[in-house]
Assembly symmetry: C2
Homo-oligomer: 225 residues x 2
DNA sequence: GATTGAAAGAATGTCTGACAATCCTGTTGA
DNA sequence: TCAACAGGATTGTCAGACATTCTTTCAATC
């Protein structure tokens, strides 16, 4: 028998499905930031019981994707700009490190996958499909983080990016940001392909900086509405 | 009325109490790594119902303090050395940054608090009270992280350190480690007091490196038993 | 003797229903 | 106008139940 044959499909529980569904809903902006989530409503909408829903909500609260205040229940956090900044700063710390490590560790196979992901983003960046932009960009990062050699770095980065997903999709929809982003990502990808760690780190730092600036920009725009 | 008088004590729910109790129990090594947690037993021991317990377990699972496998239930993760290394590497990244930021941002008041915490650790390091060593050391870091100006950095660092708490308390009990640790922490504290960012970062990096080496040492010792 | 198979027991996943405590809101009264 | 108060809405918590799945034991077979 092949040693790494992992046919064992983990059974999906209602709780897990619910966490995934809610997480996706939060990413998609289904819930207004600051709005409260009513357990009874969600139960009906999701077709599950209250205990299962509550377990899922506790998971999301621990991930900081929702807030839960005793006797008030869960709500979507309305992030302040200070919090968003703090998240972007830590994201920079982690992402620059991941890109640097990745440039030294990625295999040729995975490098090709990275270039394919970049190509996919290039296509999406020229389209009007906002969702495709976000998902293809996510794929690109995902490959980098998966090849930095440190699964903890990957895990924490994913958690952080999740918390600012709304800002990212908003800023990615702004005029010109996708094209700028594309140029920055090309720079990262090329530096990695050249195995140039310093250049890769610098490109990554630049990318996160610009992403933060774009997020601030979109946040200010939003505030004026 | 004083504007910032926050008398409103958040009501403590059974779920929160349970999370705290279990977290503390895990830190203290009450549960053997790898051992399974039986819901019905915990319910009786904690005097709570199964739904409340399960909510608490979901929180802990999201924090990665326990594993939950569908249809097998919760268990204490048995970390491999690779995972511990990965955690220490990310901890270094975050902690060095926090120390560097702290050296530029900490107030004189908080600096005194930091020096007091160091003195408390010095006392504990000479004693035989292993618990006191760990808690006073935690206080020291806690002040640094609270004064780095980035609450996200603080939050993630706390989560990471929690996951390796057992290794830290084990290595801190090893002959000589507490004294070495003390010397390293003095170096950090003095660099911060001198507002010397580079020296502070270097001292911090050195400290985490040594802590990781000590953890590996204690892990190897443990494995030989 | 080792391996397979079945059956019993244990533990988890999930639901329903219930009730007290708390929060929010709109109305009433001063 | 403002404060107190009732009412409804929502959450926190529990008890109990049952199907599903895992684990272990024991017997049967090769």
């Amino acid at each position: 028998m092949p040693p790494d044959l992992n046919l064992k499909v983990l059974p999906r529980t209602v709780q897990q499905e619910t966490v995934d569904k809610l997480r996706l809903a939060i990413f998609s902006g289904v819930f207004e930031p600051g709005s409260r989530l009513i357990e009874s409503q969600l139960c009906v909408q999701l077709g599950i019981s209250r205990p299962s829903l509550r377990e899922a909500l506790r998971s999301l609260a621990a991930e900081r994707l929702i807030d839960i205040v005793p006797n008030r229940g869960p709500s979507i956090p309305a992030l302040t700009w200070e919090e968003v900044t703090a998240i972007y700063e830590v994201r920079e710390l982690l992402e620059v490190e991941a890109v640097g490590l990745c440039s030294q560790r990625i295999s040729d196979d995975q490098l090709r996958a990275l270039q394919n992901a970049l190509a996919a983003f290039e296509t999406a960046a020229s389209s009007n499909d906002a969702l495709a932009r976000v998902t293809t960009a996510a794929d690109f990062y995902s490959i980098i983080l998966a090849n930095c050699g440190n699964p903890i770095l990957e895990e924490i980065h994913r958690g952080l990016v999740a918390r600012i997903s709304l800002f990212r999709s908003r800023s990615m929809s702004m005029e010109g940001r996708a094209q700028n982003s594309l140029a920055e990502m090309k720079e990262i990808c090329e530096s990695i392909a050249a195995r140039d760690e310093n250049a890769a780190r610098e490109a990554s730092r630049n990318h996160v900086h610009n992403a933060m600036a774009a997020a601030k920009n979109s946040m200010d725009t939003e505030a004026r509405l």
